[in-house]
Structure formats: C-alpha cells, structure tokens
C-alpha cells in the first residue's frame, strides 16, 4: 500500500497500456465501419461510408469542413446512432451503443474543442480516465483506508507514468482551467491514454497550435503508437502532419468517402485534390 514515489521512470520500459488487451494480431482489422449513413433531419452528415481500422496503425480521417469527420468519430464511439449500417469492433457488429459501453470496451477519445473537467486538477482529470478500471464499491470507498486507497495508489502509479510520458509533471496539481491551450490539449491526451485504450480517437489534436507544439504533439502520438502499440484514428487539418505520421488515410467530402489509401496515393488522388480546392460538384 505504501507504494514509494518513483524516481523518474523511463516511459515505456516497464509500463504498458494493457487493460483492454485482445488477441487480434497487429495488422488485422480492429474496427470496421460498414455502409454507415447518418442524418440529422434533412442534413445527411454521413452517406454510406465504409472503411476499416487495423490494429496498430495510425489511421487519419481528413476532409474539408463539414465533411462529417467528427460525426464519424461520434458514430464510432457510440455517441451518435447511425440510421443505417454496422460498426464491427473486435469482431462484434453493432449499430447502436452507449458511449459509456464504448469506453468500457477500450475506445477512448479527445475532443476538437477541449472538453476537460475545468474544476479539477491535471492529476484528477487524468485519474478520471481510469474510472472504468476502478472497481471498489461504495462501501470500500466510504471507508477509504484499506482496499480503496490501495486501488487509488495502484492507479495513481499508472497515471504518474502517463504524466511522465507526456512531460506534464510540473502541472500535476494545477487546476486545468489555468493551463495554456497547448498544455490543456496534452492533458486531454493524457486523460484518454489513462483509460488504456485499444482504440484511441483524436479529434484535431493539433488544432490551434504553433509549430513547436505541433511537433511535440506529433511526437507524442507517434510514441503512443510505437511504444504502447495503441491503434489511433485521428482527424487533422494540417496536411503536412497527416502525410507524415499516418499509415493510411480515409478522405470524406460532404459525408461521402472519396478516397482511401496510403498517404502518397491520397496526395496524388484527383478527387481529393478537387475536394480540397473546392471544385464544384453536383448534389
């Protein structure tokens, strides 16, 4: 119970994000989106989109504004229920799902507009990421001393690894409302990582950042992927970053999939170039 405070652990050496292990081999399909359509009244946000995310890859979802990228993430983690189509995660197909269930099955995400818990410290925010992993019931929590405290410390150790990994040890006890934007983004990544996700969804992790912050964030994303083997799906507008860090890219435009492939293929794709240049289309 008296876990000592560690002298700087080396990130990744002994620490693993393994709470949501599965036996899908690297390179096989982890999540498959099949013929999904989503509309809000008359607005068709997503139209018959299909693609897959393979275990261990960084999958980018790109497209112009309003293409349906964030809606796609919301469908994947169960926040929206599509009118049509199925999502197959770890071999189990479903259409409707509660977002809390998605969290319990190892899907974790960050938000385009920072959605941190403003009244809580960095540490508490990241600890919140481990809520689905903490099991002690009301009785033990009310007693605190004993099993609940032991569990708390066990999770604190894991969170300290993440804090160290993201280099935010100096702001551990600062309320997140007081942090600058770039650090808030990093804390949000930390909160998502704390859940030890099998699939990490990042919604514009570099929006509004300067070059240096973008480089830092790219490094963290690549490190998460390399060291922990976490599968990542990300939305990003900075094409330089997307082309550099992602393994495969899916392109959406007006809710339709217009391209899917390796970065080099996407960069050469005429339909994608047209979409980004704003060549008029008919519908």
């Amino acid at each position: 119970m008296n876990a000592p405070i560690m002298p700087h652990p080396v990130a990744g050496t002994e620490f693993r994000l393994e709470a949501h292990q599965d036996d899908i081999p690297t390179g096989q399909t982890l999540l498959k989106v099949d013929n999904v359509s989503l509309s809000f009244g008359g607005v068709k946000a997503i139209r018959e989109v299909s693609f897959d995310i393979r275990k261990g890859e960084i999958r980018a979802i790109i497209g112009p504004n309003g293409a349906g990228k964030t809606s796609m993430l919301n469908v994947i983690n169960g926040f929206y229920t599509p009118q049509q189509g199925t999502i197959t995660y770890r071999g189990v197909p479903r259409r409707a799902m509660r977002s809390t269930q998605a969290a319990r099955q190892g899907i974790s995400r960050t938000f385009q507009n920072i959605a941190l818990f403003k009244g809580m410290s960095t540490l508490d925010n990241i600890m919140t990421g481990r809520i689905t992993l903490q099991k002690r019931n009301l009785f033990w929590q009310a007693l605190w001393h004993g099993p609940a405290q032991a569990e708390e410390i066990e999770h604190r150790l894991a969170v300290e690894h993440i804090i160290d990994f993201l280099e935010i040890a100096h702001i551990r006890k600062t309320p997140v409302g007081r942090l600058p934007y770039g650090l808030q983004k990093r804390v949000e990544l930390g909160r998502a990582l704390a859940a030890e996700p099998a699939l990490l969804l990042l919604d514009e992790p570099m929006a509004g950042m300067n070059l240096e912050e973008k480089e830092d964030m790219s490094r963290f994303i690549l490190d998460v992927n390399n060291q922990f083997g976490t599968t990542i799906a990300l939305i990003e507008h900075d094409m330089g970053v997307v082309m550099d860090i992602s393994d495969r890219i899916v392109v959406l435009d007006y809710g339709r999939k217009i391209g899917d492939g390796k970065p080099a293929e996407i960069a050469a794709d005429q339909a994608v170039i047209d979409a980004y240049l704003g060549v008029p289309h008919h519908d």
């Binding site: 119970m1 008296n2 876990a3 000592p4 405070i5 983690n77 926040f79 977002s99 809390t100 998605a102 969290a103 319990r104 974790s108 995400r109 938000f111 959605a115 941190l116 818990f117 403003k118 009244g119 809580m120 508490d124 600890m127 919140t128 990421g129 809520i131 689905t132 903490q134 002690r136 009301l138 929590q141 009310a142 007693l143 605190w144 609940a148 405290q149 708390e152 410390i153 604190r156 150790l157 909160r191 859940a195």
Partner: protein, 358 residues
C-alpha cells in the same frame, strides 16, 4: 510558523494524497478534534448547546449533503427542506414503531429512507439540468411538506399535527427529549458530524467523487470517459439525501423535540442550506462547515453583541441583524465568489511564504 511545507517530504503516494498534507496543519486538526471531544463536553452550557453548537452541527450535516449534490455533482436542489422533513418523519415513525431501537440506528435508518425518496426525486435530473432541475426539486419541497401535513398517518393523527420526540437513551443517558443533558446531545451530534464528514471526504476524493465532478464540469466528456450519467447523478442524489435525512432526523429528535412540518421544514430551510454551501464554498467539505457557521452562528453572535453588549432594543437588533447578514452575503460573493473555503485556501497559499513573500 505552523504552516510550513519545507522539510515535510512525501515518501509515498499514500502520504501525498492525505487530507492534510502539511504536518502542522494535521497536528492542529487533531488537536482541535481532541478539544471538541474531550474538553467542550465539560464546558458546554444549555444556552450554547441549544442556540449555537447543536444547530451548527446539524446544519453542517445538511450542508455536507447538499454540497455533495450541488457542489460536487452540479445538480441544483431546492428540495432540502422537504428531504429534511422526510428524515424527521421517518425518525418519528421509527421511534414510535420500535421503541427499543437505538437512536443512532434510528437516525441512520432515517437517512436511508430519505435516500430512497431522494433517488425518486432525482430521476428528473437524467433529463433536465440547471434551473429546470431546481424547479423540479422545488416541487419535491412543496409536495413532501404537503404530504406530511395532509396524511394523518405520518403524525399519528395527533390533534395539533405536531410530532414529538420521545426520550431515548444511549448507555443510560438521555439524548432526546426535554431532560437530555447538553453534553450528551452535543456528543451525539459531534460524533455524527465527525464520522460522516470523514465519509464525505472519502467519497469525494475517490472514483465516485471524480465521476460526480466530471459530470458537473463536462457531462458529455464524462460520458465518453465511461462515467454513467444514471449512476453518478442518482448516487449523488441518494447520498446527498442520506445526509440531509440524517440532518432532518437529528433536527427533529435531538434539537427541536417537537416539530410542525409547515413551520420547521418550509422553503426557507431549502434556501438556508443553499446559502450555506454558496457562501461556504461549492465543492468543498470545509466550505459546508464554514457556510453552516456563517448562517447559524453569526446571527446569534451579532444579536448578543447588539442586545447584550450595546444594550439596544431587540426589535432594532433583529432588523440590523437581517441587514448585516444580507450585506455580508453580497460582500462575500463579490470578494470571493468561490466562497469562504476558497478564501481560506488563498490564505494558506499566502501563509506558505509568510512573512517573506519574495
């Protein structure tokens, strides 16, 4: 010089997450607790008991309960008075039905019964929030008071509509009824406050507390992190009502002894509790105590100064008292919107460096 963290190193995470991380503060706290338990019972007089300390302790429990719901979980409630009434009437019915049951068990059971009622009235919180929820809980306030007034079974069809607390004993000492010695009622209330403030602290610092605060700060993000809105909101309602119910039970049995529901548990009580946590500090255990002290103790002190000290007439003093309290509430809200607890936190921040701030 008590408040120093220099040289106070933390060797383990257990030491890092304790309630009073600074040694001097920890010692001071335990010395204060020892004083309350060992010295005050010998000094307490009936006046101090009836007008200051016992109401303060009981209101502290109520404020703790409301703070769990409103301060930690972000669900505004104006039904506190109604839930206190549930606790009081549950206590009365249990005392009458089971005369041999220990009063401690009766109070705790009343808390559980209130928790059930609170759970029921918490259901709307799953669909509505903010002011709309406040109105829904206001309905609870009026409905419950009406119910206890209307249905004779609750007050055993007594002619006056009042309920009276029979005398109950702990270890042969009366703690309810007219003959209870001040030190006994004081110790009973103090024990309840001590134990359940500790429980509240434990609940709010762990997983449950974080799920409440996550729900308060950003409910959508909380949901996506795996916090179930149903579980966290309803648990906050249940636990909050548990505290408020125990407060109501003690308010009736230990403090007042006889209660008429429309008078004792009206909407004013709900507002009092809300003022306590707003002035004391939302989302703070200490704030619940400071707020209760401000609302309960301060008017008495003020009155004593004006009537006893300065010799003013009572009606003048009463009016000045109301005006002063109102002005002070406004003053505190302007100076420190996060309440007295935040003021105390800032003072501590300054004390860390005092007297050499540079």
């Amino acid at each position: 010089m008590l408040y120093r963290e220099a040289g106070d190193f933390k060797g383990s995470y257990a030491a890092d997450i304790q309630t009073f991380p600074i040694k001097g503060e920890r010692y001071l706290f335990w010395a204060f607790v020892a004083f309350c338990f060992l010295v005050v019972p010998f000094l307490i007089t009936p006046y101090w008991e009836k007008s200051i300390i016992v109401p303060f302790l009981i209101w502290s429990i109520v404020a703790l309960g409301l703070n769990i719901l409103t301060g930690y979980c972000g669900q505004v409630s104006l039904g506190t008075g109604g839930f206190m009434a549930v606790g009081a009437f549950a206590c009365y019915k249990l005392m009458i039905a089971f005369p041999d049951l220990n009063i401690v068990a009766v109070i705790v059971l009343s808390g559980f019964i209130t928790a059930g009622v609170g759970l029921l009235f918490g259901l709307p919180s799953l669909r509505i929030k903010g002011f709309y929820l406040a109105v829904a809980t206001l309905a609870a306030q009026f409905f419950l008071v009406w119910l206890f007034n209307k249905v004779g079974w609750f007050y055993n069809y007594s002619a006056s509509g009042q309920i009276n607390a029979p005398t109950r004993y702990i270890l042969g000492v009366a703690v309810t009824g007219a003959n209870a010695p001040p030190w006994a009622t004081y110790l009973l209330c103090l024990s309840f406050v001590f134990v359940f403030a500790w429980v509240a602290r434990n609940l709010t610092r762990g997983r449950l507390g974080r799920s409440w605060m996550a729900m308060r700060d950003m409910d959508i993000a909380a949901q996506i992190m795996g916090v179930s809105p149903l579980g966290s909101k309803l648990s906050a309602f249940a636990i909050s009502s548990f505290y408020v119910g125990m407060g109501g039970a003690m308010f009736f049995s230990v403090y007042l002894g006889a209660v008429e529901v429309t008078e004792a548990f009206n909407i004013d009580k709900s507002f009092d509790a809300l003022f306590m946590i707003i002035i004391g500090g939302l989302g703070s255990i200490l704030g619940s105590f400071l707020g209760a002290a401000f609302i309960v103790v301060f008017p008495v002190v003020l009155k004593n100064i004006m009537v006893g000290g300065l010799g003013w007439s009572t009606d003048l003093a009463a009016h000045i008292e109301i005006m002063t309290i109102g002005a002070l509430i406004i003053f505190f809200l302007i100076v420190e919107p996060h309440g007295l607890a935040q003021l105390w936190r800032l003072t501590k921040e300054k004390l860390r460096l005092w007297p050499f701030p540079y």
